[in-house]
Amino acid sequence: MKISPEQVARIAKLARLEPDEAKLTLFAGQFESILNYMDTLNELDTTGLEPLYSPVTHATVLRDDVAVKTARRDDVLSNAPESDGQFFVVPRIV
């Protein structure tokens, strides 16, 4: 499968990334060889086979639906690039 720099740019936009022109060209070539390698899976007929998304075999146990305070506000905000002491601060949205 041929992958163009324009296709890489579209994928990058979905991933919230913005590689420069040189990287788009580099990635296009690399993606092509990696995806071609992945296409070897098409040799196998998997019709009707149940996908395995996780190796976990035990049933997930749900917690009681009770609110528990697990962290202090100061702790949660302690690594924030910008905060007002109560909330995370971000640039304007609209």
């Binding site: 994928i11 991933a15 590689p19 390698y37 899976l41 996780s54 190796p55 962290a71 702790d75 924030a80």
Partner: protein, 487 residues
């Protein structure tokens, strides 16, 4: 060597418990070793020297606690594990200033057992890599030959424990990131069964594959660390509520009579480096001399494992790494004018090239129109891979093969060819897809390269004690590698 840092974890633990040495002396010895070796190998991203010495002095004042199995033992953990108040960078610029306000479950268990955290080890950024050259900070060098890589992504932990900077390290293994660097550096690395150790507090890469495990200089040391970090944690729903066996009790077997060792034909096929094959074959002969019986088995879908792995891992990574957006923690680009711009600029400047490559490939295979062709297809083949293991392990107790197709390669040799680098994980990756336990232990030095070779033992779910028993018997019957040649 008679210095304290050269003692095994088991030896130093006994000396500490009997007060023959103090915790402060032990920590000081390892810090001196770090000071002496770190300029050459660069295995660490941070050292908490003052904190470690202060903790040791406080513990000495109290005296040894028999309830704490690692009382006073210095350890180092991979920088992917959250450590309260201590930098946790994941080898990435995007987390350069991140200091978690909590400990990962495994780190908390170590501390509760009396271990003293000396520092955080280097790693490929977000555990994406096979050589520790993808660290955003610096590459780590192999203690046996400074011109060679230590493997990855737990290359910092492997190099650190091999160089005797600490008595034990923790690594993480998503596609072989404990076993492959253990093989390349000549230490013992165990990837436990998926669910044996809680992943709470580990920065996630491929959530259905990641597992935390011990890296040590001996099999017994390894068992002692797993004994402490294994067990149920309600904060990780994938962590199994299964009793933790006595791993140390499994080490006592002197022969391997009645043990069936499965030899997957695909692991011993063409493409294996002759010096790796020679060392692993010699180890196999040792296993046979101890009474083990070889059984030929096959893992017919293993040739698809790398394709399946990278689709699954990259898809999960693209989802997991969406949380790094410059809002709540990590790097934020100051020039952003609006929110979307903030996300894009912060991620583009904060993530390195390999991480961006994997996020984008993951985004691609999950995107509309490609999900069924890639992600669903990979998950279907993943089931076949696990069935292969179930069929093979129904005929034997463990599987055995090399951990890496080659010994450590030169720094920079594969960095321009990501696909070729991915193929270096060919013998380790399928185990993560199946969720089974695996261990690499050193079995000799390559005749040509003089570099360590690791033999891999792969087991049934939650049968780590079987791996430890066989590995301990093999270790006793195998000449030790000696000191790393470059230090």
């Amino acid at each position: 060597m008679s210095e304290l840092y050269a003692k095994t974890l088991t030896e130093i633990r006994a000396l500490l418990a009997s007060r023959a040495v103090s915790a402060e002396e032990t920590v000081a010895s390892c810090l001196a070793r770090i000071h002496a070796t770190e300029p050459q190998i660069q295995a660490l991203l941070s050292v908490q020297a003052e904190e470690a010495l202060a903790a040791a002095r406080a513990m000495d004042a109290q005296g040894p606690d028999p309830e704490k199995p690692l009382w006073g033992v210095p350890v180092i953990v991979k920088d992917v594990l959250c450590t309260k108040g201590v930098p946790t960078t994941c080898g990435s610029r995007i987390l350069e200033n991140f200091r978690p306000f909590y400990d990962a479950f495994a780190v908390r268990r170590l501390k509760e057992a009396g271990a003293i955290l000396l520092g955080k080890s280097n790693m490929d950024e977000f555990a994406m890599g096979s050589s520790t050259e993808n660290s955003a900070y610096h590459p780590t060098r192999n203690p046996w030959d400074l011109s060679r890589v230590p493997g990855g992504s737990s290359g910092g932990s492997a190099a650190s424990v091999t160089a005797c900077q600490a008595h034990g390290c923790l690594g993480t293994d998503t596609g072989g990131s404990i076993r492959q660097p253990a093989s390349l550096c000549g230490c013992v690395g165990l990837k436990p069964t998926y669910g044996r150790v809680s992943r709470y507090g580990m920065v996630a890469y491929g959530s259905s594959l990641d597992q935390i495990g011990p890296m040590t200089r001996t099999v017994e040391d390894n068992a002692r660390l797993l004994q402490v970090i294994a067990g149920h944690d309600p904060k990780d729903s994938t962590c199994a509520d299964t009793p933790v066996p006595d791993y140390l009790a499994a080490l006592s077997r002197t022969d391997l009579k009645g043990i069936r060792i499965g030899l997957p034909e695909e692991f011993w096929a063409q493409g294996l480096d002759p010096e790796v094959e020679a060392a692993c074959s010699a180890a196999l002969e040792t296993l046979k001399s101890l009474g083990a019986q070889p059984v030929q088995v096959s893992l017919p879908h293993s040739r698809y494992a790398i394709a399946v792995y990278y689709i699954v891992a990259m898809a999960e990574a693209s989802s997991n790494l969406a949380r790094f957006d410059g809002v709540r923690y990590g790097f934020r680009d100051k020039e952003a004018s609006e929110l979307m711009d903030l996300y894009v600029r912060s991620r583009s400047k904060g993530f390195g090239e390999e991480v961006q490559r994997r996020i984008m490939l993951g985004t691609y295979v999950l995107s509309s129109g490609y999900y069924d062709a890639y992600y669903r297809k990979a998950a279907q083949v993943r089931r076949r891979i696990r069935e292969d293991y179930e069929n093979a392990l129904a005929r034997c107790d463990v599987l055995c093969g090399p951990a890496s197709p080659v010994t450590a390669w030169k720094v920079g040799e594969l960095t321009d060819d990501p696909l070729k680098m991915y193929l270096m994980d060919i013998y380790t990756i399928s185990l993560n897809l199946a969720g089974l336990p695996g261990m690499s232990l050193p079995v000799g030095l390559g005749k040509e390269s003089g570099m360590p070779v690791g033999l891999q033992l792969l087991g049934k779910p939650f049968a780590e004690e079987t791996l430890y028993g066989i590995a301990a018997a093999l270790e006793r019957a195998t000449p030790p590698l000696g000191q790393p040649a470059a230090l």
